[in-house]
Subunit: 279 residues, 2 copies
């Protein structure tokens, strides 16, 4: 048995219990040829629903690995219910956002097209791949959902009424972000764990969030980050008109879009998410 | 006069008042050939001490630009007194840290060599160039100081007694970061604006921080981020033994070193820095 730290792999198949599990294609190639693992080496598997399982390689072929799944090492548990909507930017920075917000625990990535969005097309498969890789490396038990890009108006029209929308506005008229995040907590608004009309919620997320594990979560939030150059005035007025919208400011310096996304999510986690004392 | 948004340039020379100012070398090349500006176009200049000044190009030569500095558009003002010490990582990620922590308002970047630091050499000139570029773009009035790399033991031995050290520990035994940051504020410890024995403080920073503008600043802090793989146990014990050390945790996921640096600094700014309601 190898002394090397186990590789973690996200699999898109059920992990119902001990038994045999097969890897094929790119995952088999990655395990055998990139990570140079072989018979007797251990892996950790997770699928976003069934916790984390220890597995041992029992056989390898050219593009196939056979695993014996032995025992569950971590149970699935509730994760913070925070979405992040952002205007896609050029490729390297969008890769970066996908990786970093996954590490920082975002539940759902929502590319949103605004008037000043310069990205001509959004590669959601690439964003998903970046999210999977980050989830594998950061010990996370889920992979965030990656949405197809939507126009800002569509995002706002479909915004769930019981989900707060933290609007990171470049205009400095918003509330300081931490003040805004602590206010609802202080006034003890009822926690919301059901998105109501949001039929698009991914099956993997809803399945994992049974009522027994969501009880400690604060409530449902989304963060909205603008494009470089900001939202225009019409867009800003529409965002502010959303029922749960809370305009906030991220200080006096002009942040790049990727910096703003990371900063806002980190502060949210520290105040209301699973970095906070009482979550 | 051009309608284009003025370029911001950091200059390392005094800006005592209206008059003539010359640019040479790379900066002249950048203005003329990269940004394609010419006679009549406006620039904004800052040097970290004298505020921001509007200037107009009055003449250009092959590697020289002559400017008429006309009026001060922003006064110099106090900035949060927060340092960030981090183990350098591979080149692209160190570039990224230098850019992002500049945007996020760090006053001083301190590369620190730990037992598990893998970077064989640290290019501080490159870090400074990244910091200058980020400062120019984010509307900041200063460029953070970039230190030469030091060993962890030397950093800790010289740590000012009146400066808190927020130790971002991968071990989950630390206090949740926001709890730790709000505690000293809540208990109203006296604000500290003088580092005492820290003779290495940069002239540009001390010159700008006159007593009249530091009064609103909370106190002096430094954030310490470990290498990928973490500090070893001996190092962790030494850090915790520093008088002002506060070990904190950044949640249950394993963060990359660059993610941890950004997240910790953003949360610090939101709680105690110039993103907070009362600063």
């Amino acid at each position: 048995m190898s002394e090397t730290a186990p590789i973690r792999l996200f699999v898109d198949t059920p992990l119902p219990g001990p038994g045999t599990h097969g890897l094929t294609g790119d995952q088999a190639h990655y395990v055998i040829h990139v990570m140079r693992r072989g018979t007797g080496d251990r892996l950790a598997l997770f699928n976003g629903r069934d916790g984390e399982w220890l597995a041992e390689i029992t056989a390898t072929a050219k593009r196939a690995v056979t695993l014996a799944v032995t025992r569950r090492t971590r149970p699935q548990k509730a994760e913070p219910d925070v979405w992040i909507a952002f205007a896609p930017i050029k490729k390297a920075r969008t890769d970066f956002i996908a990786q970093k917000v996954t590490e920082l625990g975002a539940a759902r990535l929502m590319p949103v097209m605004t008037r000043r969005t310069v990205a001509d097309r959004v590669n959601t498969a690439r964003m998903h791949a970046n999210a999977v890789e980050a989830a594998e490396q950061c010990e996370r038990l889920t992979v965030p959902r990656v949405d197809a890009p939507v126009k800002l108006d569509a995002l706002l029209a479909a915004w769930p009424r019981d989900r707060r929308l933290l609007f990171c506005d470049e205009d400095l008229t918003g509330t300081p972000i931490l003040t805004a995040l602590m206010a609802p907590k202080a006034t003890a608004l009822p926690a919301v764990t059901d998105d109501g009309g949001d039929a698009g919620e991914s099956a993997s997320v809803t399945t994992s969030l049974t009522s027994s594990v969501t009880s400690s979560m604060t409530s449902s939030w989304g963060l909205l980050i603008g494009p470089e150059g900001g939202f225009d005035d019409t867009e800003r007025a529409r965002i502010r008109a959303v029922a749960g919208a809370i305009p906030v400011t991220l200080g006096p310096r002009l942040l790049r879009a990727d910096t703003a996304a990371l900063a806002a999510l980190a502060i949210w986690q520290a105040a209301l998410g699973d970095w906070a004392a009482d979550n």
